[in-house]
């Protein structure tokens, strides 16, 4: 197995172009597990740890966070909880402190496991993946990024450079069911983000379909409900029946399987509960902030 250690981003792209089968490794929290369990035996590893810029982030004029692919979860929790509250909440549930010090959103996206904790908040935020190769850079909307179980939209010569995530303009939540309180792979997870300026609600479902996915029907339903009832303007109470219906539609959007972590039926049930709860939490937060601002 070759171990390639580019010193710069340009060099990394050149190496990736020469060795399209090389597996990028940053924190190694997924890649090393696969190697250890002999699930994967790449002929080359492409070590990105020397490339400093991947550990940095910038805030664009439009308040979008351009998050370097290797920024560890612990940094997101410490430095970006206000701009990226949903992602920070998801990051808190990743592995152990040691894993959070090494693991990154870039790695989560590269692995594209349906159980990755970063995916639901990225879907709910409407993130964009900045992929680059020697051929150039392209921005892949998160909705188009996940193609199948552990498959993503990257071309063989592409590397993830950064993730562009709009700063939150409203409350965001993340919830996850597991059989223990930490270091747990999600039985299923759910994220919701309110976008009051756009009068939009976006969602992300984890561990309950071949890919992370949005609950589009549920989003359309709640968008219409909030519009029709004038709740965005009135900031009134969200009827429990609406939240319940939202939960049912989220559950319907999932395509879970039975596995050792839980049954398909349980996953749908838990998703409905989490979706209902997180919607009410975010809406109540939104109302509270609205009142405070008024």
């Amino acid at each position: 197995m070759e171990f390639l250690r580019p010193a710069t981003w340009e060099e990394a792209l050149a190496v990736k172009a020469q060795h399209p089968s090389a597996v990028p490794i940053a924190g190694g929290t997924d890649v090393m597990v696969d190697l250890n369990f002999d699930r994967h035996r790449p002929d080359a590893l492409l070590d990105l740890n020397r490339i400093h810029e991947l550990h940095t982030w910038q805030i664009a004029d439009d308040d979008t966070v351009r998050l370097g692919a290797s920024v560890p979860y612990s940094k997101i929790i410490d430095a970006l909880p206000d701009r990226l509250p949903g992602l920070a909440l998801g990051a808190r549930t990743v592995g152990s402190p040691q894993i959070r010090n090494r693991g990154s959103v870039g790695g989560n996206l590269g692995g594209a496991s349906p159980a990755g904790d970063a995916h639901p908040p990225l879907l709910a935020s409407g993130a964009t993946v900045e992929a680059a190769s020697v051929r150039g850079t392209r921005l892949i909307p998160i909705d188009d990024f996940y193609l199948g179980v552990k498959r993503n939209a990257l071309e063989p010569d592409e590397l993830i450079r950064a993730i562009h995530i709009p700063s939150a303009t409203g409350p965001q939540q993340f919830a996850k069911v597991g059989t223990r309180n930490a270091m747990v792979i999600a039985v299923c997870s759910f994220a919701v983000a309110l976008h009051p300026r756009a009068r939009d609600v976006r969602t992300g479902i984890g561990s309950a379909a071949p890919t992370p996915r949005r609950a589009s029907e549920a989003e359309a339903f709640i968008r219409a409900e909030l519009d029709d009832t004038g709740l965005w303007t009135s900031a009134g109470e969200l009827p429990l029946s609406t939240a319940k219906r939202f939960g049912e539609l989220v559950a319907r959007a999932a395509a879970p399987i039975d596995d050792v972590r839980g049954s398909a039926a349980y996953r749908r049930h838990a998703l409905a509960v989490m979706a209902r709860r997180t919607l009410l939490w975010t809406w109540n937060d939104h109302r509270a902030t609205g009142r405070a601002a008024a």
Binding site: D38, A182, M183, G262, H269, A272, R277
Partner: protein, 730 residues
């Protein structure tokens, strides 16, 4: 006669091995550095049943650094071993010796071994081996097998169950299931073996150095005196290191083959197929009781899984015959043979799954009777051992209930399920009894007084993370009148006097008195010689009036010109005691159950235990906290998932096999009740290592029922099982 020091027994002394462990300088088996050390790696079967038809090792043999490749052709010449656990069937659990034939009995059976200069080269060599099999469908589900009566095992029958049920006002019948569990101590099983001529030295992570020595001697046809087994530090065992498994013999065979020291360390995935399991159980309990709660009948049928050739019984009914006074009791144990590795004793064998069923059933009966479950247990308190009629050596179970309930804030009036709610969270409390039987083992120990004012004590026992080094030092300190820092404790070496295995919670109870005898002997020999010696300042003194301690020993040894004196002491516990010897306890648990997602969190637990004399409240408390945590894991998390078609462990790693993390453990409180046991030994200590597990899962399951009204009779109590049993739902 009085010591120059204050008593150390009963002191909450800190672990003497703490500094070397937290600084990473403790030498475990895998750390032992030997010149020319080679490494062995095991290749394991990827089918669960069938035969190896072909194994291509050519590429492995020529791989860089590879010294030897051994296949399942019997050429290693390992002789038969009578494992001390199952006298007939040896470490393979089926009478075979490791790598002796092409028959596959379970997924993960060792089928080849590669020895190389480095671990990496051994792994790389092993990966080059190609194996073909003739595959047969394995039988791995307990439901698919036909229960058999274990050879030589009779049902336990007291009174008449049918009559007992006929006279009952209330009966409860329920069926409980527990999954296979794997021990997963922090340190995986590791063996380092080194031959010099026909003398073998083995460093092994084991709970029984003497058992390993005897097994190796018989496997390699050398006298036991030629084999030395060392095990200075053991990173947990929980039973997985209690018996002699094939890899231990293979490490020694590899060292003989390549004529170099060889280390063989099991990987974490291999720990799931190489060193036993707590087998799955299915249990049916029927209880009959009068309206006032007095039990009229207990029937406990337990079926547990074992391997094709091994007769291991998970004795789920073991505690049922002694825990409650009941005239009519029938306990039946059955086994089913599955195509899996032989099971073994995991911490609190039989009692851990057995207490889950029995103590859940008691709770079901209490609910039927609308009676406080504590009161139900008090009404059935066994004042003497109901199975033998013998008096207890010491029993303060009533006090355990009382003191535990008081500390916990147990409310006997609040027993209606599903009534305490905090938002979406349902709160419940539950309790259960605990007991653990002592199995007496004879032990010998060594003690030496040295002219520099220090002492050495030694015994072929072990510190498997339990505090043995610390506690035995405290026991010796009081006899010798030396502070523990002047006492060097040696363990884990077959050159030391023989002790029982560190299983069954017996080390302190039976090795402790042997240490006492050795220390008394060396002290009294020295003092007796002194009072008889006209040259000694102690000449003609009354021994009983001498203040003994370092000054006395140093002066006397210096005077007679001896660097040290030593003695061996023995403790032979009475195997036919007229007392029944058990530890007792009571668990109380409070859980918070998410009414909608079904997740269960244990907010707090209180355990009150009667373990006789507590030598060191700090280490004893840690043992019980560990036991309660073990029980919490059994209740909510632990389960080895076996693929029903292919027979492999689905997730043989700690990411998938869940043990509790710190965030899962709420407030755990341990209380000691009772007094020194006057009949077990003059030390008065009983076992504390396992009783913390017994009943803990039932207390949590009972609390879940109280919180939700859902009775989960299958472990672990996962969120989907709570939701499936719940009428609340979404």
């Amino acid at each position: 006669m009085s010591p120059q020091t204050t008593p150390w027994i009963g002191a909450a002394a800190a672990r003497v091995d703490g500094p070397v462990k937290v600084t990473g300088t403790a030498i475990y088996t895998g750390d032992v550095a030997l010149p020319e050390l080679a490494h062995a790696v095991l290749v394991q079967s990827t089918i669960a049943k069938g035969r190896i038809t072909d194994m291509d090792i050519a590429a492995a043999e020529t791989a860089p650094g590879v010294l030897a490749v051994c296949t399942s052709d019997g050429s290693l010449g390992i002789g038969r071993v009578a494992s001390y656990y199952s006298a007939d069937n040896g470490p393979m659990g089926d009478g075979r010796t490791p790598l002796s034939d092409a028959v596959i009995h379970h997924h993960g059976q060792h089928i080849a071994m590669v020895v190389a200069q480095t671990l990496e080269e051994a792994v790389a060599g092993a990966e080059r081996i190609r194996t073909r099999y003739r595959h047969q469908s394995p039988l791995v589900r307990i439901e698919d097998a036909i229960p058999q009566t274990p050879p030589g095992r009779e049902d336990i029958v007291r009174g008449d169950l049918t009559t007992g049920l006929a006279v009952a006002d209330v009966t409860v019948e329920a069926y409980y299931e527990t999954p296979p569990q794997h021990m997963n101590p922090m340190e995986p099983c590791t063996t380092t073996a080194h031959w010099v001529g026909d003398r073998l030295t083995v460093y092994d992570s084991t709970q029984y150095v003497s058992g390993v020595r005897d097994a190796l001697a018989s496997a390699f046809g050398v006298p036991p005196a030629n084999v030395r087994v060392l095990s200075g530090f053991v990173g947990g065992g929980f039973g997985s290191k209690g018996t002699v498994w094939p890899h231990v013999l293979l490490a020694a065979a590899a060292a003989r083959l390549v004529d170099r020291p060889v280390r063989l360390a099991l990987t974490r995935p291999q720990m799931f197929t190489s060193c036993g399991t707590r087998p799955a159980t299915r249990q049916r309990i029927v209880l009959g009781a009068h309206r006032d709660g007095r039990l009229t009948a207990i029937g406990h049928d337990g079926t547990s899984a074992t391997s094709p050739g091994e007769n291991v019984v998970e004795s789920t009914g073991g505690l049922t015959s002694i825990l409650y006074a009941c005239p009519n009791v029938t306990i039946r144990q059955r086994i089913v043979r599955l195509d899996m590795q032989a099971p073994t004793f995991q911490r609190a064998p039989g009692r851990a799954p057995g207490s889950f069923a029995l103590e859940s059933a008691l709770d079901e009966l209490a609910h039927e009777l609308r009676m406080d479950p504590v009161e139900l247990r008090l009404r059935n308190h066994a004042d003497a051992d109901p199975s033998s009629g013998r008096p207890w050596s010491g029993k303060h179970l009533r006090e355990c209930y009382r003191v535990g309930a008081e500390r916990f804030g147990w409310d006997p009036a609040d027993r209606t399920p599903g009534t305490r709610r905090e938002g979406d969270v349902l709160i419940g409390t539950g309790m259960a009894s605990a007991t653990h039987e002592m199995d007496p083992g004879p032990a010998a120990a060594y003690a030496e007084l040295r002219v520099d004012g220090t002492a050495v004590i030694g015994v072929a026992s072990h510190d498997i993370g339990t505090g043995t080094y610390t506690v035995l030092g405290q026991i010796a300190a009081d006899v010798l009148g030396l502070p523990p820092e002047r006492i060097i404790v040696r363990l884990g070496d077959t050159d030391l006097p023989e002790a029982p295995p560190s299983i069954g919670s017996q080390t302190v109870a039976y090795v402790g008195p042997a240490i006492r005898r050795a220390c008394e002997a060396v002290r009294d020999d020295l003092l007796a010689a002194a009072v008889a010696d006209p040259e000694s300042p102690l000449y003609r003194r009354e021994i009983g009036a001498i203040e003994f301690g370092p000054r006395t020993y140093v002066a006397e040894l210096a005077r007679i010109g001896e660097p040290s004196v030593s003695a061996v002491g023995h403790h032979h516990p009475d195997a036919n005691s007229r007392y029944a010897v058990h530890s007792f306890g009571a668990h109380f648990a409070e859980v918070a159950v998410d009414a909608l997602t079904g997740t269960v969190r244990v907010r707090r637990m209180v355990g009150a235990f009667d373990v006789g004399r507590v030598i060191n409240p700090r280490t004893a408390r840690s043992q019980l906290l560990g036991g309660m945590t073990f029980g919490l894991a059994q209740a909510l998390m632990e389960a080895t998932v076996i693929d029903p078609r292919r027979g492999h462990v689905v997730e043989p790693h700690l990411a998938g096999y869940h043990l509790p993390v710190n965030a899962d453990i709420g407030t755990l409180d341990v209380l000691f009740v009772g007094e020194p046991d006057p009949h077990i030994s003059d030390l008065g200590a009983r076992g504390a290592g396992e009783i913390g597990v017994v009943g803990a899962a039932a207390a949590i399951a009972n609390a879940v029922f109280h919180a939700t009204g859902v009775r989960v009779r299958t472990l672990p109590i996962t969120p989907d099982r709570v939701v499936a049993g719940s009428a609340v739902g979404g």
